[in-house]
Symmetry: C2
Subunit: 218 residues, 2 copies
């Protein structure tokens, strides 16, 4: 059996374009994400690799049920507290070096709006990892590739999203609300929806700052 | 500015197909991966998201220099030790429930060959994370999405790879050899090359076992 499942050849540049242009989307139109799109997005997520192909990942999808709304409220409150602290600590008002910094100001406005309207995000996904050994930094290799597939699939279908750690401070409350067992690691929280307004390009450092050949720093 | 950088519209099914059909590739032809392909693959990796967009990821690319060869030898020996233990412990010989299991046997043969020829992998990439706070399971969110982008880009260009933890037992030796600072987490090791022979489909559990709606287990 070959690797290819599509019938016409895919354009590698389109595929690379998807990877290079998927950016965090934090502003959504109010429209729901249709069941079929959500299914495709989650299917792509669950095809990701994991250590020894154990597939310890589970995706808890929260849309508009009573528990979903309660979870959005919990995380929304947490998000507003975290952002309020971060905004002051990281000097989003000041800009860099005391000068106003318009990109940073725009980001602050976007984040303010994101946390302010968190309860209205169309879809909230909690990516979870069923632990079969002690917590370790490497365990992320069995959940975060799947999260990336999820975000890429959303983008491919015209949706967008972002993963944050806003669920972390309300971890215990979420477990109780959603019946998540203690051996399960809630790895983050992802919001998804149809992008609203214009979004800038992906902002990343140049390749040569991030890739070394043959030894560290070279 | 819009999100799209390509000039003709991409086919969403091709993009979803890429995500759903990228499997671990452990058998390679001997041919080197051209510089331009490697650059595209690494570019895609570095466009991945990370916490607060800090981009703490660095990719150490090892091909055929003296230190690259030494690193491949170190990890190759580690891989053979780890696989020998795992093969016995996880009963790859027995199959499941005492019966022979042909898929498991094939996997064992592939892994045996992979570790046996580790020194000859065309490209070895060490994905690294510069730590700016104490180690934590969530830090993987800033390195493993980039690893997944790397593997997907390789696949898009007709290459393939796999990420393992074979570098873990020789972490200290690799640091010394490659000059990797102590605040840097070597998150795994990825091998890349042109796939050799036929590879089966992605083997994953059905969607409904991995996705819950509204509460854990539902």
């Amino acid at each position: 059996m070959t690797q290819e499942t599509t019938t016409t050849p895919a354009n590698p540049q389109h595929l690379l374009g998807l990877l290079a242009t998927t950016r965090a989307i934090r502003r959504y139109t109010g429209e729901p994400v249709p069941e079929s799109a959500l299914r495709d997005i989650l299917f792509a997520a669950t095809r990701a690799p994991s250590g020894s192909n154990r597939q310890p990942f589970r995706f808890l999808v929260l849309t508009d049920g009573p528990r979903a709304i309660a979870a959005k409220c919990l995380i929304g409150e947490s998000a507003r507290r975290l952002w309020k602290d971060k905004r002051q600590r990281d000097g989003y008002e000041r800009g860099s070096g005391g000068r106003p910094d318009s990109a940073k100001k725009r980001m602050a406005d976007t984040l303010q709006e994101y946390v302010g309207q968190f309860e209205f995000v169309p879809v909230l996904v909690l990516p979870c990892l069923i632990r079969y050994r002690d917590p370790a930094p490497t365990e992320g290799a069995s959940i975060y590739p799947a999260c990336q597939n999820l975000l890429l699939a959303a983008r491919a279908l015209g949706y967008g999203g972002v993963m944050t750690g806003f669920s972390r401070p309300v971890d215990a409350e979420l477990r109780e609300l959603l019946g998540i067992p203690s051996n399960v690691f809630i790895a983050g929280c992802i919001t998804l929806g149809r992008p609203r307004g214009r979004h800038g390009p992906v902002r990343r450092r140049p390749l040569q700052e991030l890739v070394y050949a043959d030894a560290w720093g070279e």
